[in-house]
């Protein structure tokens, strides 16, 4: 079973568009492996960008939230805000980097 931070449905939209640009004449079935690999890669890349910038104290804080099974999204919004992480911007930047790498720098 696979595990994603964001999910295949959401990231698949971007990867599908990129694949259509890069491989316009190939059938979707032949590109299924590329699709899955790149969805996974993008999910990992975004996860690393979000959590890789946290310091030890912040990592301990979020781990404590996981320990007490904090499921309230507001609590995590406050956490990221206090940590100075603009999730939207981070994710957009990673999508941009990913797209440029995938398309070989041709992306607009």
């Amino acid at each position: 079973m696979e595990n994603y931070l964001i999910g295949r449905d959401t990231l698949g939209k971007l990867v599908d568009q990129l694949i259509a640009q890069k491989y316009p004449n190939q059938s979707p079935d032949s590109l299924n492996e590329i699709r899955e690999d790149n969805i996974r890669k993008l999910d990992d890349q975004i996860s690393e960008a979000i959590f890789g910038g946290l310091n030890d104290e912040q990592l301990d804080e979020i781990n404590a939230m996981f320990d007490r099974e904090e499921n309230n999204p507001s609590a995590f919004q406050i956490f990221f805000k206090n940590a100075g992480i603009d999730l939207e911007q981070v994710i957009k930047d990673e999508m941009s980097k990913f797209s440029q790498e995938f398309l070989g720098g041709e992306n607009a």
């Binding site: 996974r40 301990d60 979020i62 939230m65 309230n72 797209s99």
Partner: protein, 619 residues
């Protein structure tokens, strides 16, 4: 269990013990659990202990996985569907049923404040040479958090929400899909201010007729005005280099040909384009609107690039005016063009926005029909320079450096059409133009204007009131000398008198318009101030609500913890009481048995004694 025997009053001693035990708890105000309740608690305790053992096993498995492949995403047995909440937490191997991790009433090794680690202590997976150094430990922590985040619905909801918004914006611009809604631009930045300038009274210029010799972009719009996404067409055209070159030029020279800036009302004399349609595609996010127009029309891209700060302007374009930029862009190969456009998009992404009101005259580029009665096609479109006065609501896009210091800005007049009281929409009011102060910067390419004076010309006619800074407007100019040489003195006198009267009327009109413009500017400034105050109040209220929600969540968690502890204590107490009772029952039973034995023995002895006596008597 012997509850029924004891509490129904078996032997006398057992019955007395029951009353004391019950009284003790009742005096303390504690609930005396029934047998069924105690059974249920004990069963729950066993289940929690078993669950804890499972969690410990899974954590141990995770630790060993991390030692083998610290950066791989191992399949986890959570089975949690994407984007869904796991209310029971049943699939959460981190111990969903144990809010505090204190599943051991006897106070086992689990640290209630920390993670359910076998070793307790910090929330970091143990083991491995990678964690020996501080950097290794930090890295291990990050990996651990990344794994756990995938299983937490709260953090996933937040990240997925942000990703959805980011993706909408990214796909809407990068791919150029028509009709894709993008999110609002919520950029917050240090506040800056426009340099205040004198309010200048300026009459709106007359519409300039078609100039000669201006550069007309190539291409044409669809006859029905259908908007074609530029990027989609660009993708199709990449197949053939020869075809693509020409077609790319057509797309790049897209001013008017895609109907981008033209409203649906094709019958009007001049259509500068309607930001309303662009706004609908871009969900009225102003940065996205600029990116959308830049993505589809090279003239739009050039318009914005001419205002970029040097730090963000693509190399080789800084300091050029929009015309020069447009020509340079059109000279690039498709690949080069895409790279420059990508850099420009990044620059637009870096912009912050704020609403403001013009305090002076500006001019801007716009499209005009050459033959106003002709077809609305690309060949009939002319680029012109137009003026705009003070008191107009516009959007300022500005850039800051890493220290928050403003390094550049541009004003963009974004005019969306809106319905009047009758619900009618005047679509020709729309527009999306970058404003520039002062004279046109088109230089020799400025379209010449024919001599069509707005007022009767005279040689002594004083110039209308102007500020210290000279402002030129695109519009008709008058060659005064040429006209005067053709007139007789008498006619000139009549003309002079008529001219003076006209001048006085004009002056009175100018004064009234200046006063009106000042009033409008003051109203707009007041509106802006109020809007900013309301926004600040809303933000403060939202912040307070979020903090209150967090505080309540913490309070609820604390109460749940306390309740669980209390219940466990009660269960332990009940168990101890049950044990006491059992011991007492056993003691009572033993006493009873001993008494019975003694009674039996005595009876035997008595019987034996009686038998002996009888034997003796008989004998």
């Amino acid at each position: 269990m012997h509850n029924s025997e004891i509490f129904s009053g078996g032997s006398g001693e057992a019955g007395a013990n029951k009353g004391e035990a019950t009284k003790k708890y009742e005096e303390r105000g504690e609930k005396v659990l029934s047998a069924a309740e105690r059974k249920a608690l004990l069963k729950e305790k066993e289940e929690l202990l078993a669950r804890r053992a499972e969690i410990d096993a899974e954590l141990a498995a995770l630790d060993s996985d991390e030692q083998k492949e610290p950066e791989s995403s191992e399949p986890e047995p959570s089975g949690q569907p994407e984007g869904t909440t796991d209310p029971e937490g049943a699939s959460d191997p981190e111990g969903a049923t144990d809010p505090e991790g204190t599943s051991d009433p006897e106070g086992g090794a689990t640290d209630p404040e920390g993670t359910p680690e076998p070793e307790g202590g910090t929330s970091t997976p143990q083991g491995g040479e990678n964690n020996a150094t501080p950097e290794g430990q930090h890295r291990a922590k990050i990996e651990y958090v990344k794994k756990r985040a995938k299983k937490n619905s709260g953090v996933r909801d937040v990240v997925i929400g942000a990703a959805t918004i980011a993706l909408a914006g990214f796909l809407g611009v990068a791919i150029g899909t028509n009709g894709f809604n993008v999110a609002q631009n919520n950029n917050q930045a240090p506040q800056g201010s426009l340099n205040p300038t004198a309010i200048v009274q300026t009459a709106q210029p007359e519409r300039a007729p078609s100039p000669d010799g201006t550069t007309s972009p190539d291409g044409a719009i669809l006859p029905d005005g259908t908007i074609i996404p530029g990027s989609t067409t660009a993708n199709e055209q990449d197949a053939s280099a020869t075809e693509n070159e020409e077609k790319e030029k057509g797309i790049k020279d897209g001013y008017g040909e895609r109907g981008m800036w033209l409203s649906q009302n094709k019958e009007h004399d001049y259509d500068y384009g309607d930001a309303k349609e662009v706004g609908e595609v871009c969900d009225h996010d102003e940065v996205e609107m600029l990116k959308y127009t830049a993505d589809n029309q090279v003239e739009s891209l050039a318009d914005y690039m001419a205002e970029f700060p040097e730090e963000l302007c693509p190399e080789g374009f800084y300091g050029l005016n929009p015309r020069e930029i447009e020509k340079k862009l059109e000279s690039l190969t498709p690949d080069e063009y895409k790279k420059v456009k990508a850099q420009a998009m990044h620059a637009l992404d870096e912009a912050y926005t704020r609403a403001t009101v013009t305090q002076r005259d500006y001019h801007h580029y716009g499209m005009l029909l050459g033959d106003e009665k002709g077809a609305v096609v690309h060949e009939n479109m002319q680029l012109v320079d137009r003026g705009i006065g003070p008191g107009v609501e516009v959007v300022e896009f500005y850039w800051v450096d890493k220290d928050g210091k403003e390094i550049g800005s541009m004003l963009v007049n974004i005019r969306r059409t809106s319905a009047n009281e009758k619900g009618e929409v005047d679509e020709h009011e729309g527009g999306l133009e970058v404003l520039r102060v002062g004279t046109t910067d088109q230089g020799p390419e400025t379209p010449p204007t024919p001599p069509t004076p707005p007022t009767p010309p005279t040689p002594e006619t004083p110039e209308p009131k102007k500020p210290e800074e000279e402002i030129e407007h695109a519009g008709p100019r008058v060659d005064q000398q040429g006209l005067d040489e053709e007139k007789t003195p008498a006619t000139k006198l009549e003309d002079d008198q008529a001219g003076f009267e006209g001048i006085e009327q004009q002056e009175r009109k100018d004064e009234a318009e200046a006063a009106e413009a000042a009033r409008i500017a003051a109203e707009q400034a007041e509106k802006q101030r109020k809007a900013e105050e309301e926004a600040a109040a809303r933000r403060a209220a939202e912040q307070a609500e979020a903090e209150e929600a967090a505080r309540k969540a913490d309070e609820a968690a604390r109460k749940a913890t306390e309740e669980a502890s209390k219940q466990q204590s009660e269960a332990a107490e009940a168990e101890r009481a049950a044990d006491d009772e059992a011991a007492k029952r056993e003691a009572a039973q033993r006493a009873a048995d001993e008494a019975a034995q003694r009674g039996a023995k005595e009876a035997d002895e008595n019987a034996n004694a009686s038998a002996s006596e009888r034997a003796n008597i008989d004998y």
